[in-house]
Symmetry: D2
Subunit: 393 residues, 4 copies
Amino acid sequence: MNEGRTGVWFVGARGSVATTATVGIAALAEGLAEPVGLTTAGPAFEVVELPGFADLVVGGHDVDDTPLEERARRLAAGGMLPSRLVEAVAPRLHEADAALRPLTREPEGSQHDEIERRAADIRDFRDAHGLARVVVVDVASTEPLPADRPEFHDRAALDVALADPSARVLPSSTLSALAAVAGARAPYACFTPSLSLGIPALADLASASGVPVAGQDGKTGETLLRTVLAPMFTARGMRVRSWAGANLLGGGDGATLADPEAVRSKLVSKNRGLHDLLGDDVVAPLHIDNVPDLGDLKTAWDHVHAEGFLDTHITLQTTWSAYDSTLAAPLVIDLVRLLSLADAAGIAGPVPELGYFFKDPWGSDEHSFARQADELVSWALRTALRRSAAPVA
Amino acid sequence: MNEGRTGVWFVGARGSVATTATVGIAALAEGLAEPVGLTTAGPAFEVVELPGFADLVVGGHDVDDTPLEERARRLAAGGMLPSRLVEAVAPRLHEADAALRPLTREPEGSQHDEIERRAADIRDFRDAHGLARVVVVDVASTEPLPADRPEFHDRAALDVALADPSARVLPSSTLSALAAVAGARAPYACFTPSLSLGIPALADLASASGVPVAGQDGKTGETLLRTVLAPMFTARGMRVRSWAGANLLGGGDGATLADPEAVRSKLVSKNRGLHDLLGDDVVAPLHIDNVPDLGDLKTAWDHVHAEGFLDTHITLQTTWSAYDSTLAAPLVIDLVRLLSLADAAGIAGPVPELGYFFKDPWGSDEHSFARQADELVSWALRTALRRSAAPVA
Amino acid sequence: MNEGRTGVWFVGARGSVATTATVGIAALAEGLAEPVGLTTAGPAFEVVELPGFADLVVGGHDVDDTPLEERARRLAAGGMLPSRLVEAVAPRLHEADAALRPLTREPEGSQHDEIERRAADIRDFRDAHGLARVVVVDVASTEPLPADRPEFHDRAALDVALADPSARVLPSSTLSALAAVAGARAPYACFTPSLSLGIPALADLASASGVPVAGQDGKTGETLLRTVLAPMFTARGMRVRSWAGANLLGGGDGATLADPEAVRSKLVSKNRGLHDLLGDDVVAPLHIDNVPDLGDLKTAWDHVHAEGFLDTHITLQTTWSAYDSTLAAPLVIDLVRLLSLADAAGIAGPVPELGYFFKDPWGSDEHSFARQADELVSWALRTALRRSAAPVA
Amino acid sequence: MNEGRTGVWFVGARGSVATTATVGIAALAEGLAEPVGLTTAGPAFEVVELPGFADLVVGGHDVDDTPLEERARRLAAGGMLPSRLVEAVAPRLHEADAALRPLTREPEGSQHDEIERRAADIRDFRDAHGLARVVVVDVASTEPLPADRPEFHDRAALDVALADPSARVLPSSTLSALAAVAGARAPYACFTPSLSLGIPALADLASASGVPVAGQDGKTGETLLRTVLAPMFTARGMRVRSWAGANLLGGGDGATLADPEAVRSKLVSKNRGLHDLLGDDVVAPLHIDNVPDLGDLKTAWDHVHAEGFLDTHITLQTTWSAYDSTLAAPLVIDLVRLLSLADAAGIAGPVPELGYFFKDPWGSDEHSFARQADELVSWALRTALRRSAAPVA
Ligand SMILES: NC(=O)c1ccc[n+]([C@@H]2O[C@H](COP(=O)([O-])OP(=O)(O)OC[C@H]3O[C@@H](n4cnc5c(N)ncnc54)[C@H](O)[C@@H]3O)[C@@H](O)[C@H]2O)c1
Ligand SMILES: NC(=O)c1ccc[n+]([C@@H]2O[C@H](COP(=O)([O-])OP(=O)(O)OC[C@H]3O[C@@H](n4cnc5c(N)ncnc54)[C@H](O)[C@@H]3O)[C@@H](O)[C@H]2O)c1
Ligand SMILES: NC(=O)c1ccc[n+]([C@@H]2O[C@H](COP(=O)([O-])OP(=O)(O)OC[C@H]3O[C@@H](n4cnc5c(N)ncnc54)[C@H](O)[C@@H]3O)[C@@H](O)[C@H]2O)c1
Ligand SMILES: NC(=O)c1ccc[n+]([C@@H]2O[C@H](COP(=O)([O-])OP(=O)(O)OC[C@H]3O[C@@H](n4cnc5c(N)ncnc54)[C@H](O)[C@@H]3O)[C@@H](O)[C@H]2O)c1
Ligand code: NA
Ligand code: NA
């Protein structure tokens, strides 16, 4: 798209996923890396015009203040990133660092004010860099899911509470989503299982704001594998009886998920696709354990037991092992490119076809990876045509 | 299809796959088993009229003469089949046994005569039971692949050689295929990696004979898994560098494949889909070991190494463990039902959409399981419509 | 030992382990099975005189009243036992069933009375069958561990509470242990992780009663493997950093352990050896999941991460899959034979060398399987010598 | 041992194992690494006086001439060694490089002359550095095993052939072994499965020369695991029926073993312990595949099938993954230290207790790892006592 540069605004910009994505964008922009791991770099997308890597500009929010270069070096020391690459893109990391804005964990004043502050940061970033648009991606730490409350079901009541300086009604992920979608009219992707826009009172927010949104909770490792494998059993008429999973990981995400509150939203999100594809009777115990010595290398073991013809038993075990953030980062870049296209083509509201990237797809019940892949490609082609037919935004 | 009963003629009728299928057909016919493991019993096929299980009649050829009941009891003792089921269907096995005809390993006279004898057996079976049609399925032991020869490329020369009582130009699988397709005008499926119709001089045989055929080499375990998983890596832009496999099995197939000649055709067939889906550069060592103590329970371990974003390494291990013949038998029944439909709808020649069932699909280069599944369903719907529009065959 | 028959009294006599052991004893006695899986049938024990299989007589307690034959048939249906064997020994199962005595879950009167009733059952069994001795083995369902209380540390206070008809101070496992050791002067083995004799006030009970005891919690699958593998890492100077485990099982034990209270004692017991062998710093998350569709076939996955020379990383994964009760039953028979020998040789108190059979060995801190095996053999030889030197008991 | 410095002479000094060991010795000497992975650094050896790491001096032979630093940097790039460590010890690598002497693949003159040249290099190294002794360790590429020949059984005939300038009777590994043992009276360890001293005519060479020797073929990964696990099955009376193995590796060793000739000696050596521990009936298919993209990270999958009580089936799968040379290097250092002790204590000939380190132990039939570990410790204690009693060598 020859219409100028596109901003990428990370919520959780100093985290493992965001840092990896930032290093990756820099490396791709400088031709130091090939776009391996990106869906949008595949042959099916060749005719779809998307923002070039060199046209992406990174900014973002974080509650932490570790410099991006330092964060990247730590990831390199842990084996996540090649050291030589981090050093080669250090100047770009330094530049991106300057575009990051701090968040406070317990902001003062009303939550409405906090939303407005966050939105202003995004708008300032867009203006300062003269960007065509800014895509906001939430890659902050997974939050505990809050209990339901009346304000979640009543927009007016919610607005009252948001304006009340003493009330704390929304979690941070929702504040950021509101800042992006309503406050800055920015396309938005939720890569985490946090609450974000998942409350009834905000169901129409994105459509009303005229921006495309996509979510939620990136589908990268074990869950990806499950939504690839489960349809095989179904197509072949085998009855999956149980699908057990054990996840071992260290790193930042490991530490966060060691908290039994935070892990709950993740577990629900991880098992959603399985039950959707195989039915609710499947016994599906699932564990995530924090194993600090494994660092960012995540290992997942799954054990599937299915019943086949004439009472036969089929067992399948899978062990998947990968650095999680290098799986997530290219998806984040894909999302930025595709939401940018969607926005340019005038699409608003949740984009079901981006469900391909998520454990818990907004606007869609399709979890089968192969079908999602087909839907994504055909959506991208349709949208590119629509966009090229449309006057430049 | 309300047009009478359908014959199932197994080449290798006393083997593990055929015996399991015969027990299965009997159990389904008597309502003693549910159609678990059958693709054609799935919801997508609900509106497609296919031969009912009680309308299938089993016959076949084998070089061995162990009674079917005995063979079934041995499979039950080895854990492949439930004993109570075998006992419950023993009368039907006895009946099927009476419809089996012997083959000699080294038949006398010309190969043309042998083809004619085999065809006559099939025609007699059809007549004796008043069957609408007979579908022939080759589930005999895997043969060594013969070396190429001029007659394979020249139909006239081939016919001369076949008529020569002293010449032995075709392997048994091709004799049976000719008997079915040309000699008995019977729809035919090749479930093995043997030569069968895979010679240039016979490329048009099925179309010319007006019968549908499908092949080859049933896709049941490790290979099924590979063609489900490989497209995931491709869609996500990851580069698979190596895909190693180790297969352990005992039983009849294990003993056959312990022969380095026989195993060659199997190995080629098994790796075809992988290279087609991932390119020829993938390092793909593959072993099949005869481990008699494992009996019919086959265990396959695969190790996949892929390269992802920013030089990251992804490894995936899978261990699949199942009784091979209970995976194969429902596919054989699916094939009989679908080839019966194809024949009734007037389809002739290789049916590419049946590639879903095979490691090395005839008439198609599509190996991605998910795409094959979509193509199969849509083909079945189209063919059922065509069939219902056509006058009864 | 030519001194007459030996009784085996199972607490939990209708459970999976006890039923399997009872079937096994019958099959061994009738020469229908070989002593595969028995340590005491190995060459190292050839010169050690132990009770013959045909000289073992089974009795026991259970709160359930399902007939033994029915229980055995259910196990056979689930794949645990060969059906033909169960049928072949049905008369012996019927006989054993007649020797079983019921327990009530909530017995009336004082706990002292209940102990006395249980002891009387054991003594009656000994007298009725004219047995040289009765070895009691606790294979009842795992109990939740009770909270500590003053009576556990003060024998006098304990006796007072036991005599009080309204007090309930001890769990059932301890009542049975007291019945065996103090009430019936019977050698006793605790195959479960329940409280049993594990309270300070009973530390000297066995020595004082003059009977040998052994415990606790049979070491059969994953834990066995761990105590075999951990010493390898230690010997080679590698530093194990984490050892994660996932256990999947159905059956009776699966259902019991689905209770978070009951599973706690099991988890503690399972990890004891690991920490003892590798130190307390090893990160060792461990899960047991109830997966009913897997029945009695237990599958355990372990992931070990160790640090080696020059910061190298070593990972080892193991997947162990077996029918748990067929692993446990031969150990139970070994224990009966060896405790019988110990008793005949006049040994009293916990026998540390029987730690070989347990996750949490009484009287010993040795968890290394290889060392335990050496200690066991040498103890058996010493005890057999001592016994042959002693006058017949 | 306070008697001066000890030389380490590597045959194959520029290979992966030797380079890793050389980096490791340097790092240990400078206190940059802890002795993780060394058996001799364990508490059992605390009272045994062994050469200190700073007292080891490295030299050696190789047919290749890549500088050691470059070789080490390549290993670091492949993930085998930490880059910072390689850089930190670069000066020491440079020093060691200067002590390396070239070998030619096809040396001119008689083989006797070649032996003498190699011996002279070792002696010169000892003199130049004023070393108490030099321990020679063969870590060269695995050779194809030569066919048997009369000279292997007749020392006189062998000597005649060695003196004949046109005869080529011994492989390089045997030439190096003769150079070390007979030519330089140096203690010698054979870490490879090559022929080395394994010919009848040289059976007494080491004893006659008065030097201790140890071999053969380092036991580091899959084989180590097997000799740890197999004794468990035996002790518990389970009958192992099959033990299948698949090994995937790249790197130098992977390339060498891709040669079907070279791999044969390795396969024989790998399976020796298994058959010795479990009997010859165990079905044990074993494969080693060269998978270049895996580099030096070796992955081995084993599948064990055992029969237990009452016809139960037990399966165990293990996946071991590690950088092979970092497993081997500490063993090489252990061997140098222990052979140095043996030599100082006046021990000559094959040392059976060093079988702990080898797949195919010289002078011993013991393959059980636990027993070997016990024997090693007790031998080291005995030898240290003997040494301290002896006058300084
Ligand atoms: N494969 C994957 O890595 C993957 C897949 C799916 C989802 N996710 C999700 O992505 C998120 C990021 O994962 P990660 O590995 O980068 O975690 P991380 O812990 O490394 O990074 C999270 C970052 O968010 C920051 N943060 C915390 N609270 C914040 C707030 N209220 N506002 C702004 N920033 C905040 C933290 O300071 C940190 O820098 C997690 O929620 C994770 O569940 C990751
Ligand atoms: N999952 C699966 O089981 C699976 C998958 C793909 C392909 N296959 C193929 O199916 C075939 C059958 O497998 P199986 O396990 O039943 O093997 P099997 O050895 O149990 O049975 C083969 C039968 O073929 C008979 N036979 C041998 N030569 C014959 C000939 N010339 N004519 C007629 N019969 C002959 C044998 O006597 C035997 O009864 C094999 O070729 C196998 O490779 C099986
Ligand atoms: N490999 C193994 O199977 C293994 C290994 C170690 C320990 N164990 C332990 O052995 C025990 C038995 O295992 P299982 O698989 O046979 O379980 P199970 O559930 O099949 O059998 C337990 C039996 O105990 C009976 N019972 C319950 N409460 C009782 C009481 N108070 N008094 C007498 N009987 C009582 C039940 O009715 C049942 O018949 C469990 O505690 C288990 O943890 C088993
Ligand atoms: N875990 C392990 O790494 C392990 C375990 C057991 C045995 N081994 C054995 O150790 C040996 C070395 O393994 P590696 O990974 O270092 O292999 P490598 O290929 O990296 O190194 C072998 C070295 O030997 C040199 N060489 C070849 N022929 C020679 C000759 N005739 N004389 C002197 N040098 C020669 C080569 O140039 C090379 O530098 C192999 O035989 C291997 O089988 C290794
Ligand atoms: Na959805
Ligand atoms: Na030996």
